[in-house]
């Protein structure tokens, strides 16, 4: 079993290209498309009045062309000619204004929708980033926990062994104490260092 190498966990060629291309695309978008998007929205608000004026201008020209191109005596003498002209021209003007305003509104809504879509993508990206960050945090915590578990496991093993060594030493002491009362040729002493310190006892070097 070999030690893990950081090179085994390095990004693959696909990961590298993916990140580099995505970054370059994003840069290109920011430098080229984002300004256009802003320009579109700015223009849609700035040109609202202009669009209405254009619609009104056309309506005016159409009305005058239709109603004033033949000013004969009958028209001059008619009681309602002036009022008719004013009424028709006003109605046409309204249509022109409405068309212009409708066009402007439509552009404004489209622009805001598109900007909002960008914001949605940002939010979706943030969600994804948050998921990635949580996964990363949890993975790091899990790795730390695994290390801690291993350390606690090792400490438990060492502690249990030290306990066993201590018990062995104590048992040897008791045995040797019992054997001490017997004649020297009958004694069956357990070989041990009777003056061993606690460290020697716990590490098992007090016996033998």
């Amino acid at each position: 079993m070999s030690k893990p190498k950081s090179s085994d966990y390095k990004e693959s060629e696909v990961d590298k290209v993916n990140a580099a291309v995505a970054m370059a695309d994003k840069k290109y978008f920011r430098e080229n498309y984002l300004p256009k998007q802003k320009e579109f929205i700015e223009r849609s608000f700035k040109e609202e009045s202009g669009l209405m004026s254009m619609g009104e201008g056309r309506a005016q020209a159409d009305t005058m062309q239709a109603l004033t191109q033949n000013p004969n005596r009958r028209a001059v003498g008619a009681v309602d000619a002036q009022a008719d002209l004013a009424s028709a021209a006003s109605a046409q003007q309204l249509q022109g204004t409405a068309q212009g305003l409708l066009g402007a509104r439509s552009d404004q809504v489209a622009g805001i929708k598109s900007a909002n879509q960008m914001a949605s993508q940002t939010a979706a990206g943030l969600s994804q980033a948050s998921k990635i960050a949580t996964t990363d945090t949890l993975n790091r915590a899990k790795a730390k926990q695994t290390r801690n578990s291993a350390l606690i496991g090792a400490a438990t093993k060492l502690g249990v062994q030290a306990g066993a060594n201590y018990r062995g030493y104590r048992a040897a002491e008791i045995t040797n104490k019992g054997e001490a009362g017997k004649p020297a040729n009958e004694q069956d002493l357990v070989p041990m260092d009777s003056g061993a310190g606690l460290f020697k006892i716990l590490t098992g070097r007090g016996l033998g």
Binding site: A20, V76, Q82, L85, S90, A98, V109, S127, A141, G163
Partner: protein, 184 residues
Amino acid sequence: MSLYDNMRSRQDYAGQLQGVQNPDNAFAGMLRQDYNDYIANFRQYEDKLLGMTDDTTLIDRSRENAEKQAEIAAGVQSRNLERYGGGGLSGAQLQEQQKSAQRGNQLSLAGTVNNARVQQREMNQSLLQELIGIGQGVNARSLEGLGTAAQGAVARRGAYKQAKANYSSQMTNMGASILAAFLI
């Protein structure tokens, strides 16, 4: 030779791109900048559009236009009368013509403004509908974002509690095992 052979680039553009050292940091930075860009460049227009649901541009402008058209029509009529030497109309007839024009202008003004009100309402309603659609999107994405954040927070909290419980249990086991080894 296939068609693609003519189109195939001999240049390795992808190979010349700058590498991304830390993609998750770059991603986070990019998203932060995107949000800042959105607020700095588009929020003011979004607010402007939101404030246009009670717009009266069409009504205001049509009122001005109706008055202007009455003046223009009066000018046309007066020039025509001059061209035709009064058109053979008597003083009384001219007076009657003026009265009729005034009545007509008033009616025209009222009619135009009323029509403008109807059209303005339609336009404002339509804008409102579009804004509601946009708002639904904003609402959905904010809920989604918060949902993910909440999910992450719960997962982290759960993992922390679990880790604490594991640690405590392992420490207790260790203490008990060592103590047992000394005592038994």
